[in-house]
C-alpha cells in the first residue's frame, strides 16, 4: 500500500509570504470545457518575465505560458501553476515596408500585425481562423491557416526569435543560428522557453480583396478531390462538411477556394487596402448587431437544431450559392471565427472541444469516413466540421503531414463528457494506423499514447534532449504537456 504522504509544515516555509490571492483566477481553455485555477502574472517587460520565472523556481512551482488564451483545450492552463500571460508584451519593434519583415514582441496579436502592415500592402503569410491569437502563441503552437498547402505554418515564416530560458538567459535563434533549437521551439507548446520576440516575414498583396469561389461537394470523396485539385491553383482551400449527413451523402459540404487579386485586377487597391474596407460588418442582414448574434444562435445549439442548420447550409450552398464567385476582403475571408463575437457561448454551459486529425493524403478518405461514421453511430455528430490540405514542415513536434486535416467541434454537456472523451480516443486510433498526427492547439482529450504514436522518427527523444538542455528543472509545463508528454 502506498505510504501516506505528509504535507508537513516542515516541508513548507511558512516564513515566506503566500502567493497573493488576487492573482488567483480560474483559467479557461478557449472552448470553456476545461479550466484550472492558476496564479496569473501579466508582465510587460522581459525583466518582468524573468521575475516570474525566478519566483517559480524559488517556490518550486511550475509556469505555464499563455498568450490570448485561444487554444481550445488545456494548452495554456495548469492547476495551481503560475500563469505567465504574455499579451501585455505587445510592442512592434521594427517594420520594414520594403521587405515586409516585422520585428515584434511575442504578445502582439495577429490583428495588430495585419492592421499595422496592410496599408503598406503586406498581409501575414499565414493566419489562423481568428485574428486574436498572439504571435508568440501562434509560434508556440505552430498554427496553420487555410493556405497551409501553399504556405505551410506560421513557423515557416519566422526568420528569427528570442527565447528566454528559465535560467534567465536569452538565446536568439534562427535557421542559421542553433537551427535545432529553433525548429524545436516552434510547435513545442511553450515547453522549452519563453518566446519574447520574433521577426516575421509577411507576404506582399496588391489588393485588400480575394476572389472566392464556393464549390459544393456531394460527398467526402468529391470534397477531397476538389481540395486536392485546387491546392495548386488557389492560395486558400477550406472545406465545410455537414457531419450529420450519412450514407451516400457522408462528407457532403462546400469548399471555399480563394486567390489574391493580382495587380490590375482590383480597380481601387488603395481603397481595399484601407482598414475600413477590412472591418467586419457591424450587423447581420443589415439589422442584427453582431454582438447579439450568438444569443439568436444559442437556441439552435443542440443536435436537432444543428442537424437542421447544417442541412439548410448545404442545400443553400448547393443551390443559391453553387459555384458562386465573389470578391471578399482579406479579413472577412480569413477570420471567419470572428464574424460572430462570442459564438462559443452558444455552447454554454458545458463548452466545446475540438479534435483535429492530420492524415496522409492516400488514407484520408478512409480515415475521415470512419471518423464521421463513428460520430454518427455514437450519437455525437460534430456540429462543425472543417477540412484543409496540408504539407509537411521542418519543425520537431510538427502536426503537419502531406495530406488533409479534419477538425471536428463537439459540444460538451454534463452527461456526455465521458463518452466524448472515449469518442476522441476512438477517432484517433485510425489516424495513427494511417501514419497521421494531431494538433495540440486544439486538443483537450487525446490520450498520451496516441499523441506519442504520431512521432515515429525519434522526435520525442530529441525533444526530451532539448528539454533537458533548456529547462532541466522542468519549470515550464502545462496541463496539455503533463497529459501528453508526462
Amino acid at each position: 500500500m502506498p505510504p501516506a504522504t505528509a504535507v508537513s509544515p516542515s516541508s513548507v516555509d511558512t516564513a515566506v509570504a503566500p502567493l497573493p490571492v488576487d492573482r488567483l483566477e480560474r483559467v479557461d481553455g478557449w472552448g470553456m470545457a476545461v479550466s484550472a485555477p492558476g496564479y496569473v502574472y501579466r508582465p510587460s517587460t522581459i525583466d518582468g518575465v524573468r521575475d516570474v520565472l525566478e519566483l517559480a523556481q524559488r517556490r518550486g512551482l511550475p509556469v505555464t505560458q499563455r498568450g490570448s488564451g485561444r487554444s481550445y483545450g488545456d494548452a495554456a492552463l495548469c492547476p495551481e501553476a503560475l500563469i505567465l500571460e504574455l499579451n501585455r508584451m505587445r510592442r512592434i519593434l521594427a517594420w520594414d515596408p520594403e521587405s515586409g519583415v516585422l520585428d515584434a514582441e511575442a504578445g502582439v496579436s495577429i490583428a495588430e500585425i495585419w492592421r499595422y502592415a496592410l496599408g503598406d500592402g503586406w498581409w501575414p503569410a499565414v493566419v489562423p481562423g481568428t485574428m486574436h491569437p498572439t504571435l508568440g502563441g501562434c509560434l508556440a503552437m505552430n498554427v496553420h491557416g487555410k493556405n497551409c498547402w501553399r504556405r505551410g505554418t506560421v513557423g515557416d515564416h519566422c526568420l528569427e526569435l528570442d527565447l528566454l530560458l528559465p535560467t534567465g538567459e536569452i538565446r536568439t535563434l534562427s535557421r542559421q543560428r542553433d537551427a535545432e533549437l529553433f525548429h524545436g521551439v516552434i510547435g513545442s507548446f511553450g515547453q522549452l522557453g519563453v518566446i519574447t520576440r520574433a521577426r516575421w516575414q509577411l507576404k506582399k498583396v496588391s489588393s485588400g480583396l480575394l476572389e472566392v469561389r464556393a464549390v459544393p461537394a456531394r460527398d467526402l470523396g468529391e470534397m477531397l478531390r476538389i481540395a486536392d485539385d485546387a491546392k495548386e491553383t488557389s492560395e486558400y482551400v477550406v472545406g465545410w462538411l455537414d457531419a450529420f449527413a450519412g450514407g451516400k451523402r457522408l462528407g457532403r459540404g462546400q469548399l471555399h477556394l480563394a486567390r489574391h487579386l493580382e495587380e490590375g485586377e482590383d480597380p481601387a487597391p488603395t481603397q481595399t487596402l484601407k482598414l475600413e474596407a477590412q472591418d467586419l460588418p457591424d450587423t447581420f442582414f443589415g439589422v442584427i448587431p453582431r454582438s447579439v448574434m450568438w444569443r439568436l444562435m444559442k437556441p439552435w445549439n443542440h443536435r436537432p437544431g444543428m442537424r437542421l442548420v447544417n442541412s439548410v447550409k448545404f442545400h443553400l450552398s448547393n443551390t443559391l450559392g453553387k459555384d458562386a464567385v465573389y470578391p471578399q476582403s482579406l479579413a472577412a475571408f480569413s477570420f471567419l471565427l470572428d464574424y460572430v463575437p462570442g459564438w462559443k457561448k452558444t455552447y454554454l454551459p458545458g463548452g466545446l472541444i475540438q479534435h483535429q486529425s492530420f492524415v496522409p493524403a492516400p488514407a484520408a478518405e478512409g480515415v475521415f469516413r470512419r471518423q464521421l461514421e463513428l460520430c454518427r453511430q455514437r450519437g455525437m455528430p460534430s456540429f462543425l466540421a472543417v477540412l484543409k490540405r496540408h504539407r509537411p514542415d521542418p519543425f520537431l513536434l510538427s502536426h503537419a503531414v502531406d495530406g488533409f486535416s479534419l477538425a471536428l467541434d463537439f459540444p460538451v454537456t454534463g452527461g456526455n463528457r465521458r463518452q466524448l472523451w472515449r469518442l476522441v480516443r476512438d477517432l484517433a486510433e485510425p489516424v495513427i494506423e494511417a501514419g497521421g498526427r494531431f494538433y495540440p492547439a486544439k486538443d483537450a482529450a487525446l490520450p498520451p499514447e496516441l499523441f506519442r504514436a504520431g512521432f515515429t522518427d525519434g522526435q520525442l527523444e530529441r525533444f526530451a534532449e532539448l528539454k533537458d538542455r533548456c529547462d532541466p528543472d522542468r519549470v515550464l509545463t502545462s496541463a496539455l504537456a503533463e497529459r501528453l508528454l508526462g
Partner: protein
C-alpha cells in the same frame, strides 16, 4: 443540484466528527488533506484510510490550529497536494470542563483559539480562494450549544455562537460566487470530546458525518444533526430570559 466532492480539506481530522468525515469522503473517491495536531493519531488514521482505499487518498498535515500564522502558506499547498479543492470543513474543537463557579481565562482563551480563531484563519483562506474562483463548499461544525448562553460552558457556547455568525457572514459575502457555506449544529455526538458527558439522543460520529455530508452536498444554509435538535433549539431559544436564567442548563 447535489454537489460531488473530489478534493477536500478537513481540519480537526484526528478524531470525532472530523475523522469520520475524512473516512467517509475518502471512501467516496475523494482525496482528503487531514489536518490535526497529533501526528501519531493522524498518520495512523491516514494510513488506515489509504489501506482501505487501496490508494493514496488521505494526506496528513500536522498543524496546531493555534499557529494561525502558518495557515496561509499551508492552505496554499492543499490544492496543489490534492489537485484541486472543492470542500473545506472546520471540525476542530475543544470543550473544557468548567465548574459552575469557575472563571478561568486561560481555558476560555484556549477554547476561543481552537473553536473560533483557528476556524477564522482556515476559513478566511478558503473563502478568499472560493471568492476568486467561484464554487466550493465551506462547512463549519458549530453546536446547538451556540444557540443560547447557557450557564454551563460560557466560552464554548460563545465560541460556537460566534462561529455561526462568522459563517453567516461568509455566506453573505460569497454566496453570489456560487460558494455554499454550511453551518452544522450537532446535538450530542459520541466523540472523545463528549466522553463522560450525560447525553441523550446521541448519534455516532460516523452517523453524524453521513448527515453532514448529505447536507453539504445539498448546500443547505444550516443543519441540526440529527434534525430533531432543531426543535430542541427552537424550544430553548423561545424560553424567556427571566426563566432561562433559573434553569440549570
Amino acid at each position: 443540484m447535489k454537489r460531488e466532492f473530489h478534493h477536500a480539506l478537513v481540519i480537526g481530522a484526528s478524531s470525532g466528527i472530523g475523522e469520520a468525515l475524512a473516512r467517509r469522503l475518502a471512501a467516496a473517491d475523494c482525496r482528503v488533506v487531514m489536518v490535526a495536531r497529533r501526528r501519531d493519531e493522524l498518520e495512523r488514521i491516514a494510513a488506515e484510510i489509504n489501506d482501505l482505499c487501496g490508494e493514496e487518498r488521505a494526506f496528513p498535515l500536522v498543524h496546531d490550529v493555534r499557529d494561525r500564522d502558518e495557515v496561509p502558506r499551508l492552505f496554499e499547498q492543499v490544492p496543489r497536494t490534492l489537485g484541486g479543492l472543492d470542500l473545506v470543513v472546520y471540525a476542530s474543537g475543544v470543550l473544557h470542563k468548567v465548574g459552575f463557579e469557575e472563571y478561568d481565562t486561560a481555558k476560555d482563551a484556549h477554547t476561543f483559539e481552537v473553536n473560533l480563531l483557528g476556524a477564522v484563519a482556515w476559513l478566511n483562506a478558503a473563502a478568499a480562494r472560493f471568492q476568486r474562483l467561484g464554487g466550493g463548499t465551506i462547512v463549519g461544525i458549530g453546536s446547538i450549544a451556540g444557540d443560547r448562553g447557557r450557564s454551563g460552558s460560557p466560552a464554548y457556547n460563545t465560541s460556537k455562537g460566534a462561529l455561526a455568525i462568522y459563517l453567516e457572514t461568509l455566506r453573505n459575502r460569497i454566496a453570489r460566487r456560487g460558494t455554499k457555506v454550511v453551518t452544522i449544529k450537532p446535538g450530542y455526538v459520541e466523540t472523545p470530546m463528549t466522553a463522560g458527558a450525560k447525553m441523550f439522543w446521541e448519534v455516532s460520529a460516523d452517523r453524524a458525518a453521513q448527515i453532514i455530508l448529505a447536507k453539504a452536498r445539498r448546500g443547505v444554509v444550516c443543519a441540526y444533526v440529527p434534525a430533531r435538535w432543531r426543535l430542541v433549539s427552537w424550544v430553548i431559544r423561545s424560553i424567556p430570559s427571566f426563566l432561562f436564567r433559573r434553569l440549570k442548563v
